[in-house]
């Protein structure tokens, strides 16, 4: 199982593709940043030092 996204029995043929909703709505950017700041404060200040990747394409 994949966490909350459990696989279900499904038909062999593909189902209807996701519908376009006519485009996203503009968000309200004036709401409080408190929750976001709280999330940001939890970030390990040194984690980027551990992020060493191989170069790709």
């Amino acid at each position: 199982m994949i966490g909350q996204f459990e696989r279900r029995e499904k038909p062999i043929d593909p189902v209807e593709k996701p519908r376009d909703t006519g485009g996203p709505e503009k968000p309200d950017t004036d709401t409080s940043r408190d929750k976001l700041l709280k999330r940001m404060r939890k970030v390990d200040p040194k984690q980027s030092e551990r992020y060493r990747q191989r170069t790709g394409e």
């Binding site: 994949i2 376009d20 968000p27 950017t29 940001m40 970030v43 170069t55 394409e57």
Partner: protein, 471 residues
């Protein structure tokens, strides 16, 4: 004849180890994640054949959603299936993200590691890609003159496609600098990949990354189609930016095919890419070949105007793209990047970082900001800053939870991914020797050609299954 739109994305993911004491090196963990995906989650069928010199048996495989997971240059990479709609494509792009994160959760490793959907690291100067693929017909003007009309658009589209980063990488991998030059200080630039683009046209993808990749590998009938393969773009978290990136690029390819694309000649496009990305004033002024100044937004306006004139009303996606493009350019023209929060990744990231800097009294050279930049791209919904914005309702969406869930396990309905997925599903139930490629499937030594990406091949697949005694 100009075909309809068909596109796909390929993403190379980074892997951040939170707790090195767990003792699993990142390069080993990506293999374990891949194996878990195929062996435990049963997302598809692992390859049993050599696909290429760097893709031995077991390196990856096709998925029940028609896409593909594989290991490439040490990164786990996800290719979406062939898509024909923008919302559909965004859903399939996000399906890969969710599958990877949920696999870490399922393996009990989400506290120890996270997949990062970005394109750089700050420690080694490495870069890894977010590639775009657009199908065009064989009579598309795949010449320096024809593709030359695409270059100014690609150089300037970063104003809404960039994912943003701190600082700059002045020496792309594979290059060296003689002497001891002093590089300018760049607090923040709007694109991650532009530092690593060193050519305008080139056929290879590493060390000599070009604005336009020219290799001729259509992954379709070579007599009818070509594939425009782009590797200069950033990985977008914003669904709006992903849709706008692909929508505008597909639209500009249409303009070129119709012979009505603007004739704009930018002086030194590779340098112009960097000038735009690194401009601290975000005025984005560059030069035309005749020496006249022009801004990135003016170049984009030229393409937008041509799109409105020649392509308006041809499809819902085109009309959405034209409207969103114009709104985005209008907002960028105000110079107030906060207007783009929720739609453009670099603006959303900058807004978060500047808010945090003000709150914590940090300066741009504080190393904490690099870690926060990374966290914007963290695919863990409980950690990632993009997901924090999404949870606060600040991100414009093109998908729903349901459409992403569907895209994790079902293919698009209008392309050959449908037939491919049907055959995969059957083989997972009734095993038989197989070999899957983008353009063909072999079962029991029998061959089904799937060279037209616009066909579903569902009927042909059923006949094929009867031929090999699986139906």
């Amino acid at each position: 004849m100009r075909p309809g739109h068909l596109f796909g994305l390929e993403t190379e993911y980074g892997l951040l180890i939170h707790n090195p004491e767990v003792g699993i090196p990142p390069e080993m963990l990506v293999h374990q994640v891949r194996d878990h995906l195929f062996e435990q989650h049963k997302v598809g069928l692992i390859d049993r054949h050599h696909r290429a010199h760097d893709e031995p048996p077991g390196n990856g495989g096709f998925l029940l959603n028609g896409g593909r997971f594989y290991i490439d240059m040490g990164h786990i990479e996800y290719a979406t299936p062939e898509c024909t709609g923008l919302s559909e494509m965004v859903a399939f792009d996000r399906a890969g993200d969710v599958l990877l994160h949920q696999t870490l959760v399922d393996m009990g490793l989400s506290e120890h590691a996270s997949f990062i959907k970005n394109n750089i690291d700050y420690e080694t100067g490495a870069t890894f890609g977010a590639h775009e693929n657009y199908l065009v017909s064989r009579d598309f003007p795949f010449t320096e003159r024809g593709l030359g009309r695409l270059v100014p658009f690609l150089v300037t589209r970063q104003v809404f496609t960039g994912a943003g980063r701190l600082g700059a990488n002045f020496v792309p991998e594979g290059y060296m600098v003689l002497g001891d030059p002093e590089f300018p200080k760049i607090p923040f630039q709007i694109s991650q990949r532009t530092d690593h683009i060193v050519s305008d046209f080139y056929q290879w993808v590493q060390f000599n990354r070009a604005i336009i990749n020219t290799r001729d590998e259509p992954l379709a009938d070579p007599g009818r189609y070509r594939r425009i393969h782009l590797l200069l773009g950033d990985s977008n978290l914003s669904e709006y930016a992903t849709a706008l990136k692909v929508g505008t690029t597909a639209l500009v390819l249409d303009l070129i095919h119709e012979g009505v694309a603007p004739d704009v000649a930018i002086l030194d496009p590779v340098n112009a890419l960097k000038l735009i990305s690194r401009d601290p004033e975000r005025r984005w002024e560059i030069c035309l070949e005749d020496g006249k100044p022009i801004t990135a937004l003016e170049v984009q306006r030229d393409y937008l105007d041509a799109g409105k004139k020649y392509l308006s009303g041809q499809s819902d996606d085109i009309d959405w793209t034209l409207k969103a493009w114009e709104e985005t350019l209008n907002d960028l023209e105000t110079g107030d990047s906060e207007k783009l929060v929720g739609r453009v990744d670099w603006a959303s990231k900058l807004w978060l970082l500047e808010g945090f800097m003000a709150e914590e009294k940090l300066t741009w050279d504080d190393p904490w900001l690099k870690s926060l930049d990374l966290e914007y791209h963290n695919l863990d919904p409980e950690r990632g800053l993009y997901f924090g914005l999404e949870a606060e309702g600040k991100m414009s969406r093109r998908t729903t939870l349901e459409s992403i869930q569907q895209a994790m396990k079902m293919p698009p309905v209008e392309t050959r991914a449908a037939g491919r997925a049907m055959l995969l599903r059957k083989l997972m139930k009734d095993p038989a020797p197989y070999m899957f490629n983008w353009t063909s499937v072999y079962i029991e030594g029998q061959h089904l050609s799937m060279v037209d990406p616009f066909q579903t091949y569902l009927k042909e697949a059923k006949v094929f299954l009867k031929t090999v005694n699986l139906l």
